[in-house]
Amino acid sequence: MLAASYDLHRFERRRVTALVGSYGSGKTELVLGLAAAARQSDKPTLIADLDVLKPYFRSREAGQRLAALGVTMLAPEGALANADLPIIPHQVRSAIGREDLQVFLDVGGDPVGARVLGSLSDVLGRASCDLFLVVNRYRPFSDTFERALEQARFIANAAQLPITGVISNTHLLDETTADDIDYGLDVARPLATALGVAVRLLGVPASLLPHFAKRDDLPPLVAIHRQMLPEFLGGVVCTPGGTA
């Protein structure tokens, strides 16, 4: 399993879904999980890896596992996948325009990473597109409401698209506690309000799911199974770079 869907029937989204946010907010894990879940609806699903910034821990590294689930991964191919070249595959532009495809865009972190959406703003503007801001309160520039709002505005400006929803995904990797989830919501909720949108999803480590499933005051839950781990830690991904 790539990621568990729990409440995803309650999660509404448009055909093209782009996730933006700080480095380490959990965008890639969410994209992998959401796309895998979306594929179960039988609609052709595609992830475009638009992380042109960092050559490590990108969704393209999970490409083989996704292919087994029927999700197409669009990323620079072959040796180019390992290049530190900011390559945007040509097919991305046509994929965004195709009505028969569910498209998830995995974008690099911070306003800098969101800038790549600017180069696609013409096709994205014509498509039905959600821009979800993923917020991890434990990341720099996201720890207070004011700073998170400022970061959100920088990101929206770089993407040249409005933010249409917030995903609260506060975590400390394997050390996340139930209190941390609530601590994150304390910023995500006022942030969504200030942006005129809703908190559309709440990321919860799979182990804490039973605890939160009992509560009725929460946005739809998504269980996070960490996948973007080196293979020696149990993830799908080999060490960044090569496979045998």
């Binding site: 530190d84 900011p86 945007i88 991305v92 600017g118 180069s119 013409d122």
Partner: protein, 263 residues
């Protein structure tokens, strides 16, 4: 009814799929270089030098012998080629603005100053494309990049370097020109500059700067990128031919070729 092929693949471009982003003008520049080599019929006598940067894989696309240079060192590596190969060879190096105007500034200035018989193709898009859009020596004042988030502050980081103008102070070069790839019309002009440079290469150092776009690094759509280039880069980087054979800088008049320090 007969079909006429209006536009075909350039013979000297390989069948390899180009990795450049949509709207990036590297592909255009490659095609122009390939067309010039093809039209001159010099494929068997041409050796290219690919740089470090987005064009590091240029050797995958243009069907001539190639060597790959370290970052900034293409003019030195090309010099090594020129000084060891038979004189009928054509040698070109293809460099970006970080490569040529920053880390490789010494190499380009001295290759030009020695009058190395080379053609240097300088692709200027005002940022470091490969590493993610950092400030380059050619970044415009006030232009936002990942390492000048508040816009390039000239008081802190200096002004953009105009490489053609800088090289035009040297005596040795025989051809220095700046073109632009911002439109079909400009691209046709740019190709003429490349052809002139290759034609003059055996007379001395030739240099063609091509103003280019980086939609990904700039965060603009391909069409917006072209408009941005015209609006913002052209005023600072005017397209013109700076040097042609026979036109030497004024200060050469005061130069005594017979001067000896001692016998």
């Amino acid at each position: 009814m007969t079909e006429t092929l209006a536009f075909g693949r350039t013979p000297l471009l390989t069948h390899n799929y180009m990795h450049y982003c949509p709207g990036c003008t590297h592909g255009v520049a490659h095609r122009l270089v390939a067309e010039v080599i093809d039209e001159m019929g010099i494929q068997d006598r041409t050796i290219g030098v690919s740089p470090v940067g987005c064009a590091v894989l240029a050797y995958n696309y243009i069907d001539v012998d190639f060597i790959e240079a370290a970052h900034g060192r293409a003019p030195a590596a090309a010099t090594g080629l020129r000084r060891t190969l038979p004189p009928d060879r054509y040698i070109f190096a293809y460099q970006g603005d970080g490569d040529l105007a920053s880390i490789g500034m010494a190499e380009i200035v001295h290759a030009a100053n020695r009058g190395e018989k080379l053609t240097i193709i300088f692709v200027n898009n005002a940022i470091y494309g490969m590493t993610g859009g950092q400030m380059a020596p050619t970044t415009l004042p006030g232009m936002k990049t990942t390492t000048s988030p508040g816009g390039r502050d000239v008081a802190q980081t200096g002004h953009p370097i105009r490489v053609c103008e800088l090289l035009d102070t040297l005596v040795a070069p025989v051809f220095i020109a700046r073109g632009s790839l911002s439109s079909a019309k400009n691209t046709i002009k740019a190709k003429k500059l490349l052809r002139q440079a290759f034609d003059l290469q055996h007379q001395g150092f030739t240099f063609v700067e091509l103003l280019s776009t980086c939609p990904t690094g700039w965060g603009l759509s391909p069409t917006d990128s072209l408009a941005w280039l015209d609006r913002n880069m052209l005023p600072f980087f005017p397209t013109k031919t700076f040097r042609e054979p026979g036109a030497m800088p004024e200060h050469t008049a005061a130069y005594h070729p017979d001067l000896k320090v001692r016998d």
